[in-house]
Amino acid sequence: MDSRKLKNLVANRLMFATTILSGIIVFFIGFILFQKSTLILTSRPLTELLFSSSWHPWRGEFGFYPFIAGTLLVTALAMILSVPPSLLTSIYLAEYAPAKVRGIIKPMVDLLAGIPSVVFGLWGVLLVVPLIRDYVAPLVGVTATGYSLLAGGIVLAIMVYPIIISITEEVISAVPQQVREASMALGATKWQTVKHVITRSAFPGIAAAIMLGFGRAFGETMAVLMVVGNVPKVPTSLLDPAYPLPALIANNYGEMMSVPLYDSALMLAALILLVIVLLFSVAAGILLAEIKKRFAVG
């Protein structure tokens, strides 16, 4: 065979193999987790596992509800805190900022994205937690330790921030120059152009950026674990401690992997996390396709 054709064939097959592999890994992980959690799944009804709030493994009570609620609340709070400012920042960087400012700020934002999460966690313990304890809590007239849902949300928001900014800025910069010129030619101000033209044509990309940030927030373990308080109770205020699923696994796995039912419960925690992430990414995929259809420009 001609060596060029052979190379082409090999390249084709190789890429096919790696693609298939990356596609089936998620099923592989899911299968292992499911297999490991059958012990607990067969010994307790699923509704009790998912909706009971009582977490006392040594008394045989495995209620994951506080952890599921903790995960969703911390992530939601982080997104609420991070999305608006990061969108404004990326619009400013892409549309308004002089080249010099962009040249300084952008590398700094990228640097922020590369900081290991444990460093964010330490920073949270040293700064965010005392800030909440000494200033935020007295402001609303309560005493609190500072280890709270709010601390987790803030630390997580700051971790998500650079991801959204970085991608959104790229997306906005990629909007064709003619679109801007056309808008300006009609007499629109810069703000009107940004608001009605740029953000609309960049919207699918922005949505994708937010979803990427969301993914990071969801699974983040160490930084959140260090500041969130880790009390297995559904929080009723921002200053209450929370306990997300990844923290549950990280806190207990090393010590409890030799106790079969406990080990199985932690595997189930991982499986629940995986299922929630899958549900969200499917929903996000559908949403994104819908947005693309609706906002399609030219």
Binding site: W58, N230, Y253, G254, E255, S258, P260
Partner: protein, 326 residues
């Protein structure tokens, strides 16, 4: 063209050869590392609390037995237990009790040294002087950590006009220290109230930074390694052991690490929160591992105090040696 082709074929051949070598070496590596474990290597893994001690012992033992290699890794008591039961390591290190589920699977363990957990408060605690003068009873700790019916520092020392809230801290991660502290109060770690903070240093930091905080630490963290004094920023809470409402002279041994170690050895400081640290294996210690454990229980004990741990009394050591005979 021909020349180019040959070159190309050679390169492909090279790729194939390299691939085969890589795959083959992965297999042979596994094969050899599998067999060398039988020889002069003793593998140890497990609890963080025992890791520094084990490293000292490993150094000491290798000095007199240069042909023995001891590989020590930490990863939590559960990992030590799992590895030991699966035969991945010869010895597992345990900082918590061995659970019945683990004994059912054939876990065999000996105590090798002691450690203790002490309760801590911030140095600016509003009722610090009362705490240091009166001590705190086990019942009061129970009411703070389990029952939750003591919520102010005034209630802790019997001064109702002090209404500063008690900020209760515990460990978020499953570990020997919280397990032992809960055992002192007759419960499990999952029953301890309070904000969960990760790790011994994290809990220390939380109490250091919160004027109203209460926590607990291994003595290795509550006392400074060099100065042997209590760590700056916190105060160790003395336990009112006989619950007579005041700290008697014989109950007052918290100033330096040497004093509290002495109190633990003489079993004045209650146990728990003092606790034995264990080495574990599947069914029985054998071969090189057995020799090492035997040495740890005899000559190896001289390294214990130097590493900052509490030596076991001689009768307990003898008991452990008897356990090895069986």
């Amino acid at each position: 063209m021909v020349c180019v082709r040959v070159d190309c074929m050679n390169r492909k051949l090279a790729v194939v050869v390299v691939t085969i070598i890589v795959i083959a070496s992965i297999f042979t590596y596994n094969y050899f590392s599998g067999t060398s474990a039988q020889g002069g290597t003793i593998k140890v893994s497990g609890a963080w609390a025992l890791y520094p001690m084990m490293v000292k012992w490993a150094e000491g033992y290798q000095k007199i037995h240069p042909n023995i290699r001891i590989e020590v890794s930490a990863g939590g008591a559960g990992k030590g237990m799992t590895d030991a039961l699966a035969g991945l390591v010869d010895i597992g290190m345990m900082s918590r009790d061995v659970y019945p589920e683990e004994i059912d699977k054939g876990a065999c363990y000996v105590a090798v040294t002691k450690d203790a957990v002490v309760a801590t408060v911030n140095k600016d605690n509003p009722v610090l002087n009362d705490i240091l003068a009166k001590g705190v009873t086990r019942q009061t700790f129970y009411n703070i950590y389990i029952a939750g019916n003591i919520t102010t520092w005034g209630q802790v020392v019997g001064k109702p006009n002090v209404t500063d809230e008690v900020h209760v801290y515990t460990r978020s991660d499953a570990a020997g220290a919280p397990d032992t502290w809960a055992k002192y109060l007759g419960k499990k770690q999952e029953d301890l109230r309070g904000t969960g903070v990760y790790g011994d240093p994290g809990l220390l930091e939380a109490v250091k930074n919160d004027r109203l905080g209460i926590g607990f630490n291994n003595i290795g963290y509550a006392y400074d390694m060099q100065t042997k004094k209590q760590v700056q920023g916190i105060k160790v809470i003395p336990i009112d052991i006989n619950a007579n409402g005041q700290l008697d002279p014989q109950e007052n041994f918290y100033d330096t690490k040497d004093e509290i170690v002495e109190a633990i050895i003489r079993q004045i400081y209650p146990s728990p929160p003092a606790r034995n640290l264990h080495l574990v294996t599947k069914s029985a210690f054998t071969g090189a591992a057995e020799k090492l454990v035997r040495w740890i229980l005899t000559d190896g004990q001289k390294y214990v105090e130097e590493a900052g741990y509490v030596p076991l009394p001689q009768d307990v050591l003898n008991e452990q040696l008897n356990k090895l005979e069986r």
